[in-house]
Assembly symmetry: C2
Homo-oligomer: 295 residues x 2
């Protein structure tokens, strides 16, 4: 049972992790924090969190440990490394990975933890940095149903909706589905804006004209206006999207699926990254499409 004395660990204090952790801290829970770059945790420490030098140190003194990391190799080393969570965690504790990582890795963490009587939940989110700051994220959770349910008082501090998707890895699978839809809308919206500009249409009027109908989507509402004012600041970074699409593609292959839209998206977004937009927002796809004139 979670109460106000439940000791929370938090690893990963980037653009997503820092505000999520801050919500738990300001709710009054005792929080221990670790991140690869200590400076990025300083604001949390100033607000009352205890710094811990390694993931193992976090695991040692916390009942529930959350991780929110950028890349699968970080997740791998935070869980399996010599100073990682799994070698140090005590029976009965709970590990919650909110990073977007591969369903296979989530299952591997689950199985390794189960051998130590430790429960794990994969709980990737959508909603981006804005959702993290406003505590309006959507959580897609995989793992034991009762364990996910028991975390609700903590999820309530950082998310608007928690959807239970099934056994370990299912939260990650749901996130992959989310990214598949996002990939499709990104390609559609960016190609429409490239076409519109070339055809001499007013791109702002176009967006207003097509928004109310079957073309309506979050990307058209939120990212098309940014493209129209040449704003490529991230929201969600290209290099993270490439990572997610690569995971989705690996999992699709593993399941014997051929998904041509996903293949195209992965290929295009690698070109976007290669063109120097790795740390731009995903709307930077439009640059690569604009450059793709016919021979």
């Amino acid at each position: 049972m979670i109460d106000i004395n439940t000791r929370i660990g938090w690893i990963g204090t980037g653009v997503m992790g820092a505000p999520m952790c801050a919500h738990l801290l300001s709710a009054g829970f005792p929080v221990c924090v670790h991140s690869r770059t200590r400076a990025r945790a300083q604001a949390l420490v100033d607000a009352g969190a205890c710094w811990r030098g390694t993931p193992a140190d976090v695991a040692g003194g916390c009942d529930i440990v959350f991780t929110m990391l950028g890349m699968p190799d970080e997740v791998e080393s935070v869980y399996f490394g010599e100073q990682g969570l799994l070698p140090a965690v005590q029976p009965g504790r709970v590990l919650v990975d909110m990073s977007t990582t591969s369903p296979s890795l989530s299952r591997r963490i689950h199985d390794a933890a189960a051998e130590k009587a430790v429960r794990t939940v994969d709980a990737p989110v959508s909603g981006g940095d804005v959702g993290a700051r406003n505590a309006t994220l959507t959580v897609m959770a995989g793992g034991d149903r009762d364990t996910v349910a028991s975390l609700q008082p903590l999820f309530d501090r950082i998310a608007r909706v928690v959807s239970y998707m099934g056994a370990a890895g299912s939260g990650q699978h749901a996130k992959m589905c989310n990214q598949l839809v996002v990939a499709g809308t990104m390609i559609g919206v960016c190609e429409a804006l490239v076409y519109a500009a070339r055809a001499g249409l007013d791109c702002e009027e176009l967006v207003e004209a097509i928004r109310p109908g079957a073309a309506g989507c979050w990307t058209l509402d939120n990212l098309a206006p940014r493209i129209n004012r040449d704003d490529y600041a991230p929201g969600f970074m290209v290099e993270h999207f490439v990572k997610d699409l690569g995971i989705a593609l690996d999992e699709a292959y593993r399941m014997g699926l051929k998904l041509p839209g996903l293949e195209l998206a992965f290929d295009l977004y690698r070109q976007v990254r290669h063109s120097g937009y790795g740390r731009s927002g995903t709307q930077a796809l439009v640059h690569v499409l604009r450059a793709m004139l016919m021979e």
Copy 2:
């Protein structure tokens, strides 16, 4: 100036045209109607419309003629045929093509009409059969701005929004942009559902989980639930979407654009048609994707 005595002509009484024409008729305008298949105009004739045997006969006695046809070759013959509109229309009249057709054809109609001092508007719509019945369509209009504005009292009877997009052909260009976005969302949503089923997720729960975030789109809200209950009835028919995507591709090539998402969508939807789903709804894309297992 349009008043209640303005004589309206209407050509094309299919699933879209019939209810649109009925709205003008029930508003009290005198309406002459023609369609390729007379039986499909009978309900309108019973409601007070005058039947005319050819487009030329419609043009002869009407101030403003609307066309709402399925395929560009029908538009071509209704406008340019021996018994078509253009040979018969009188100076000062207005021709409004609400079909989705090529921007190039719209400009050709405009130029031929201009030689006879006849004004034309290309005014394709989005919103589908439901929008047509409920008079909640979105109109994307190209042509002379004042002419478009003068039609507002008629558009008000069939549409919720009219967006002026620019010179002749611009309405069609805007519709192509609409279809580009729709194509992206269709591919993304269908691939996500194929992936989800294969990963063992509950597809209905998945849709609810990802709807509130960046994956949110009209297609997810409206067509994913149909796929989840195996309902492939059209909404919008595959064969019409193939036609639209083909037009968009031709226009993109003409403008020197390479749009890989559009190319993929056109290729996939031709496979959908070839697989026997030409008269199914566009959500039938999922059948082709499901069959696309890895070798």
